[in-house]
């Protein structure tokens, strides 16, 4: 195989994966609390120094873009948006999960749960809304303290991973898990909880579309060089074979 075909197949591979990432971001343009994946490959290609480029060593490194999504009002007493760095903690049998999707409900035992029915962690275990108050009387302050009809009933556990944020592994259902036990979350410092609001996905559709065009053009260009290579080698073969 020639050097060109090797180079092209590496970059085609990475471009296809990047296209998948863009399609996933676009599919989640309406997912509450979704954080977009950055598409690092084509960006890195743009800035690549041709002198130092070596084929095959390039890796697609898709990190999260944890920037704030826009916050929109819903008026539901159990919708919460986070403003700032940090996560809600969801308790599951397989350990805690972390999410920025604050669309919560109450279950039949009056505990606050997420939309899949998993318990939302409070500072001291699950948060139970007493039967004697209605959900409309629930009040959550900006630091996550919850009171029902004036009586405090608990406080959301809010955590932050600081610089380790990018090591989180997405598990779907708008949740992340820690990659291993060595990482420890710290209580979130500068985080504001807004009741009656939802944090929209931070996917910027225009940017994704521009990236999509870039990726498909790069793909096309790679294919062009492959077919040029094919023509060159076939004319070489026909010359040699007479």
């Amino acid at each position: 195989m020639s050097l060109i075909s090797e180079q092209v197949s590496t970059s085609i591979d990475a471009l296809t994966r990047e296209f998948d990432v863009i399609a996933h971001n676009l599919a989640n343009a309406s997912t509450i609390g979704y954080k977009r994946r950055c598409n690092a490959f084509s960006k890195a290609l743009e800035g690549q120094d041709p002198q130092s480029y070596s084929p095959g060593t390039f890796d697609l490194n898709s990190t999260f873009d944890f920037s704030q999504g826009s916050v929109g009002e819903t008026g539901r007493p159990l919708d919460f948006a986070l403003y700032g760095k940090g996560f809600f903690v969801i308790e599951t049998p397989n350990g805690p999960l972390y999410t920025r999707n604050g669309t919560f409900l109450t279950n039949q035992n009056n505990q606050i749960v997420d939309s899949l029915g998993r318990i939302v962690a409070g500072q001291a275990g699950p948060i139970t809304v007493p039967n004697s108050v209605s959900l409309l009387q629930l009040n959550v302050s900006s630091d996550g303290a919850i009171s029902a009809g004036g009586t405090p009933i608990g406080k959301f556990r809010l955590v932050d991973f600081q610089d380790d944020q990018n090591k989180l592994v997405p598990v779907g259902e708008s949740c992340y898990r820690m990659p291993d036990a060595t990482m420890a979350p710290v209580p979130a410092g500068r985080l504001v909880v807004k009741q009656g609001y939802q944090e929209a996905s931070n996917v910027k559709v225009i940017d994704e579309l521009v990236d999509m065009i870039l990726v498909s053009r790069l793909y096309e260009a790679n294919m062009k060089s492959l077919s040029a290579e094919k023509e060159a080698s076939s004319s070489l073969t026909s010359a040699a074979m007479g």
Binding site: L105, N109, L136, S174, V205
Partner: protein
């Protein structure tokens, strides 16, 4: 083939469901006691190509992993139980619940259903019934010689007979659920209890967090026309853009297939 095709297809299906939900909200903009629905999306599972923290060289761990997601799905639709506007109708048997709570309705089968539609009427036997003719629970009968009927803030039903004497013939009671979003929608403005909603608590209007009864008013739908229209535009555009992703993927595959011609 490209994973992006199925990913974008999940996006299109999701947005289509969002349009369905918005259409139902808009269709019920004038339905008494209607509560708008809200659809919630979640991202689908990720294919992990490399975990963050894997060792790339001795002592060096990769700072982030490579995970590629596979799209979106609708996680749930929840009813948003915020209060609708109260509209003055001046009809004494129209009641609105100012605050939390549902009216209980007895079905012909004896099962209970719950509603916030308070446009009550009297049937041939003088019983208080809903527009569809189902009796409310506890049953309240108005004597046939009654000249006027009024319903108080605490749910008391006052009747004045032809001689001018007033008497209370019953009390409208309200019911509340731990998780109102878990109630199942039966149509006809009726909701029914499920495992998820929890067991109902019944009480007197105005007590223990229950709302009060406003006679002569009806609660309008809590659908905000403008919000729904904005959501509709967003959903429509997001649908379009997901279909664009499929087309771009198709173009890429075509370029690839042209090579081997």
């Amino acid at each position: 083939m490209l994973r992006a095709f199925s990913t974008a297809a999940t996006g299109m299906t999701g947005q289509q469901m969002m349009v369905d939900v918005i259409a139902n909200n808009l269709a019920n903009v004038n339905t008494t006691g209607f509560k708008r629905s809200q659809i919630n999306f979640q991202d689908l599972l990720y294919v992990t190509m490399s975990e963050p923290g894997t060792e790339v060289a001795s002592g060096i761990n990769s700072p982030s992993g490579t995970e590629i997601g596979s799209g979106v799905r609708a996680a749930s639709t929840v009813k948003v139980f915020t209060l609708g506007e109260l509209e003055n109708t001046a009809r004494p048997l129209d009641i609105a619940i100012a605050g939390d709570g549902f009216l209980q309705v007895t079905m012909p089968s004896g099962d209970l259903r719950y509603t916030r539609d308070g446009s009550l009427q009297l049937n041939a036997n003088g019983e208080l019934v809903t527009t569809s003719g189902y009796a409310i629970e506890p049953a309240i009968s108005v004597p046939t010689d009654a000249v006027s009927v009024s319903i108080e803030k605490d749910g008391g039903v006052n009747v004045t007979d032809s001689s001018g004497t007033q008497s209370v013939v019953g009390t409208v009671q309200l019911t509340r659920f731990p998780n109102p979003s878990g109630l199942s929608n039966e149509g006809d403005n009726l909701l029914s209890e499920t495992e998820a909603s929890g067991t109902p608590t019944t009480g007197t209007p105005g007590e223990n967090g229950f709302g009060t009864i406003q006679s002569g008013f009806l609660e309008k739908s809590n659908v905000q026309m403008v919000t729904e229209l904005v959501n509709l535009i967003t959903a429509q555009r997001a649908y379009e853009i997901n279909s664009r992703a499929i087309r771009a993927g198709d173009d890429m595959l075509r370029t690839a297939s042209q090579i081997v011609r």
